[in-house]
Structure formats: structure tokens, C-alpha cells
Amino acid sequence: MKSLVCGIDLGTTNSVIAFLKDGYPRAIPVEEGSAILPSVVSFDPGNGSHWVGQRARNRRAAFPEDTVASVKRLMGKETLATAGQKSFRPEEISSYILKHLADRASEYLGEPIEKVVITVPAYFDDAQRRATIQAGELAGLDVVRIVNEPTAAALVYDHVRAETEVESPYVLVYDLGGGTFDVSVIEIKGEIKEVLASSGDTALGGDDFDERLKDYLLEELRRQAGREDLSEEVSLKVRLLDIAEKAKIALSDRPYVEIHEVAVAILDGKPLNLDLELSREQFEALTADMVERTMGIVEEVLREAHLDAAEIGKLILVGGATRMPAVHEALSELFDQTVAHSVDPDLCVALGAAIQGGLITGDSVGQILLDVTAHSLGIKTVDELNPETGDADHFSTIIRRNTRIPVSRAEVYRTLADNQRGVQVEVFQGESPWCSENAPVGDFFFPLEPAPAHCPVVVEFAYDREGLVRVCIDQKGCANRKEVTLDTRQRKVAQEADEPGAVETPVNYMSEKARRLAGDPRLSESVRREIQRVAASYEEAIRAGEGEDRMDELEDVLLEVMEQAEEELESGE
């Protein structure tokens, strides 16, 4: 039997293990159903046992002397990591993490894991790479290859069904993790990927954004309480950090977040509540310097690679903190192109390592089909007039193309006139900046409550796998809200009040799949129509209770057209 080669992203903050199954990379759940393992090891000096991952991280504040985190920073150095009375070489600590990952993966897959590919930052020198190999060996693993992290990320996107063909061989990988930032420029020459330049900041990551927001919330609390002396004791700090992290995540999807937190502190025996609304704009203003810092490093790397921003063919995002829209915007502005972010940024590097493992064993790697939006979705606004027609025709994007679905995104718009009676919400899909060049999805009227001009109106799109967009429109501060569901495939509006069941439900899993393919906008119109036609006959025959021979015949035809459709999707034609 051919042995499996797993891919491991041995990160500073977190680590992930993945494998290739039927040509597709999959991350393996290693702890409480999660694929993300904190890179922390904690020892019990009493009996010599140790914990790895979340449990070790949970012990960190209780037993700081016995717990080691961020050991990756020490790899390849002479410095020892101390835990209790014992000292460990950094590779020894890393070996515990690797062994834990391999053991969990082995339990999950039901076969021993012996061979692995491990990723390292592009800037790792020989000593650091050797230390990583040693860590693998100490864990009883055969490290068949060390791969640069940005190279692994690029490898994943090599196998993601290409949205557009890119001619430039240069790829920029922007990796903003929990505690570190790395950026690399890669040149792709066929199968070979060469890192041309790499840089970063080992003291900048998503946690710093949380910390900045936490400081703002503390100031706000002091202001609300009128007490500048409100001290940041442990419980308050923990609570505010939690609130800050949740708010940061929420602001990645919507323009405002309401914070209603009871009793974040007790002052003179009375609870102090945090009750405020925070806008994405405020959050971005608070953290703008950090995004700018990363962009400075991006420019530095471009200079080092002797490239202009315009020469970069593809931008790839890695690391959970890259979910922040400010990062997308800053990069899109500098490079004047959209960014590749459809693969989970927390898992991307490990998935790439798994693909590398598969390539080593001679496995074929399939085209990774992701559930992503095939087109951008947005509404018509009057921000710009079409120079040709002179009409208000601006397409304001709410959900960008190639965003993973299901997804929910909201944007804020403002009214034009005092006491404006309402707005006509016109939804389009497409990539043109002009609505007239995009496909209409549907439209409806939203009556407004009397309010002065520039009154904010939040438009939220929730897009699911079935191609339905739930549009929720909210006139802020007026308790005026409306929800409408639009079908991007059939271009029809179904109000919430509409009678359900107008379209009959699929008869079985075959018709379910056929309907999904028929609604896939990546397929040609003729293929979609053909599936629709065959599926309709098949469903009708089942409902009518047709004989076995007739059903067999229809089933064959349906399977054939679905196979053709899948081939079309895989070939990307």
C-alpha cells in the first residue's frame, strides 16, 4: 500500500495538519473538532507528563514557568526553552507539537502517519530548516520535504479552479497571522516556484488589532463612567479583549456592530456596562497605522524583488487576520486587482503542504472546486453617472466574486434628500462598474421613514449555496426594516410573505444535485438548460410512478448530462 504523506503547517501561534484525499487536500480535526492546534506545550514537573495545544494554552497563565509558546521563534538558535527545572532545545518542543498532530491524524485516518512535509517561513535559514527536520525526526517522522509557507499557499491556488487566466508569473503572498506578519514574492516557472524576496514583522499580527480595540473600549468605559482611574485589572482586561475580538470579527462582515455588554466592571459596588455602537470606519481608523505598516513591508519586498506592483499577477491571502476588509482594500488599491482569498486563510498553508505530499507520492491532484460566488453581487447607487448614458448606473459591490459561500456581508449607504420617501433597491450580479453591463437579479421598493438627508441605510446580503440572496435593508435609528429573498439563478423576487413551496422540492438526491448544477452560473447556458430539461422529465416520471425500465433510461440520461457538466466545471471551459 502506498504510504500517505501528510502536510504540516508548523506555525508560531497555531499548527495544522492536512492530507490529500481523492486528489483534494483536507485539514484534519485534531482537537474538539477543530483543525487548528495552538503551538503550545505545557509540562507537569510532578510526573513529567505534558500537554499540547489548547489544553497547554489553557495552562499557560496558571503555570507560566512550565509552559512554552511561540517556540518557532527560537528554531535553529542556541537558546534553550525552559520549562520548570528542565531546559529543552527548541526542536524538542516542536517535536511534541508534531507528534501530537501526527498522532491525532493517525487516529482520525486509522493508519499510522510516518511521512510528512513541513512548511517553514521563506526567511528561515539553513540552521532553522535543519532544526525543523530534526524536530520531525524526534517525533518519529520522516520529513520528506521542507516547503516554504508562501510556496505552499501558492500551490493550493494552483489547483483552485482558475477564475481568470493570469499571464504574469509573479505571485505575492500576504500572510497576517495571530502574532506575525510575512510577505513574499514568488516567481512561478512551470512546476518550480522560487521565492524572490521575503520580509515581515515578527511583532505584528491580528492580536495587535484586538489589543488596540480593547484599549479603545477601556477608554470609552472610563469616559462613560467619568472615572479616569478605572484600572485594567485581569478580569476587565480578559472581558474587553473578548469583546474586542468578537467586534473585530463582526466588522469584517458588516459596517456596524452594536456592543451591549452587561457589568464589564464593578465600580463602587455598581455595575459598569459597555453600551455602544462601533463602525467599521472607526475600527479602521484606530488600526490604520498597522495596515499601513504591512503595506510598507509589501512595498519593500517589491523593491527587493525588482518588481512594480503592476507586474504581480496574483495576490494570495494567508492568516486569519486577512479577513479584515481593510487589508483587502489596501492591497487592491496598491495592486489595482482583486485578491485570492477563497481558500480558508487559516488552513491554506497546511493544505498546500498536503498537496506537495501528494505530488511526492505521485498522487494526482484534482481541481479544487470551492463553493464560491461566481459573480460579484451589489446594488445600483447614484455615486457615479455612466459617461455614455448620463444615467445613475454605478454598481456598488457588497459581496465580491469568489467569496466563499454561504456568506453574509453588509454595507452602509446614505439617502440623498431630506424626508426621502423611499429607495428602489436594484440588485445586480457581474464585474462591470456599470449596472447596465451586469445582470439584473431583482429589485424592490423600500419605503423610508421621514429623516434628514444622509440618513444611513444598511443593506445586507446573505448568499447561500442554492443561489438565493436574502436582502435585508435597515434604515438605521428608525426601526424600519425589510427582508426580501432573490434568486440569482431564476432572477425572480420572492417576498418573505410569498407562499412557500411554489417550486416543488427535489424528489431525491439525484434531482437535488441536478438542480444545483442547473443553477451553477459557471456552466454554459446550454448545459444548464439541458440538465434542467432532463431533471424535469426525471422528476415528473418519479412523481408519476413510471415503470422501472423508463426510470432506468431517464436515470442514465440524467447521470450522463450531470457528468458532462462536472467535466465542464473541472476543465474550466
Binding site: E32, R57, N58
Partner: protein, 175 residues
Amino acid sequence: MKLGDFKWFRRKRDEEAAESRRLILEETQSLKKLLRKQSILIEEVRREQEAAAAKERTNVEPLLDLCDSVFHLQRAFRSPGLMSRQHAQVVSMVSKRLDLFASYAGVEMILEEGVPFDPRIHEAVSNRSPDSPALEIFEVIQPGYLRDGKVLRPAKVVVGAATDPNPSPKGSIAP
């Protein structure tokens, strides 16, 4: 054997071989079809499972937020004298109802104090007795949650030395 017999045998053999080939082809095609249907079924089941799991995840978050709020409300008024007995009773009753509601969703709160520190369900944020090897939960700052035995969030806790070998809870915050 006559030449005629030989030809007859050969024709018979060829006919049987052709029939076997036809049967094999038919069986292969039917097997292929079954495999194809099986893979579609597996794919659909996986999609349904993922959708159900995603639905469960999204549904439980607001519940946890509400549990958090009630926990902090109760914690704010735990000092003696801050609430009348009746007010404290109201908060406690609401908390009990919420706990019951959470249990319907398979959610269990982690908020017991005075129990030994367990790194699986507790995340220490501070240690009041750094030199002590045996620690217990001194204070729960943020409740944790289990769902069907799986840790959704560990409770954030302040730990301290376990003074009593058989510690009793210092007062339960929630029911």
C-alpha cells in the same frame, strides 16, 4: 474429429465469448452507474451534514451570548447587600430557566468554582498562588460551554491554591 465439428466448436466458443463480453459490459456499466449514484448520494449526505453542522453552530452562538450576559448580571450583584432577596431571586430564576433552555440545545455551562483546575475545560487567565502545584478555580471570569461533551469555549478562570483537600463550591453563580 471432423473439420465440420471443429468449426462448430469454434463458432459456439465465439458465440459464448461474445455473450460473456456482452454480460460483462452490461454488468460493468451497471456497476459504474451504481458507483456514480453512490458518489452522488455520499456528496449529498456530506452537504446535508455540513449544512446541519453550520446551522447548529450559527444557532448556538446567540444562546451563548445570552448565557454570558445573564452570568455577568448575576456576577455583578453577587456581593451581599447589592440586591434585595427578591431581586436576587428573580435573577436566579431567570438564570435557571436559561440553563434549562441551554440544556435542550445540548449546551452545558462551565462555571463551577472551588473545583480543581482542568485545562480541558478551564483557561487560566491569572494565578493567585504561583508556587502551588495543585490549583482550584478561584473565580470564573467568563463562563465556558460544552456541547454534547465537546468544549465549545473553555471557561476563563482565576486559579488559586487548593487549600481544602475536599473543597466545597464557594457559591454557585448559575443554577
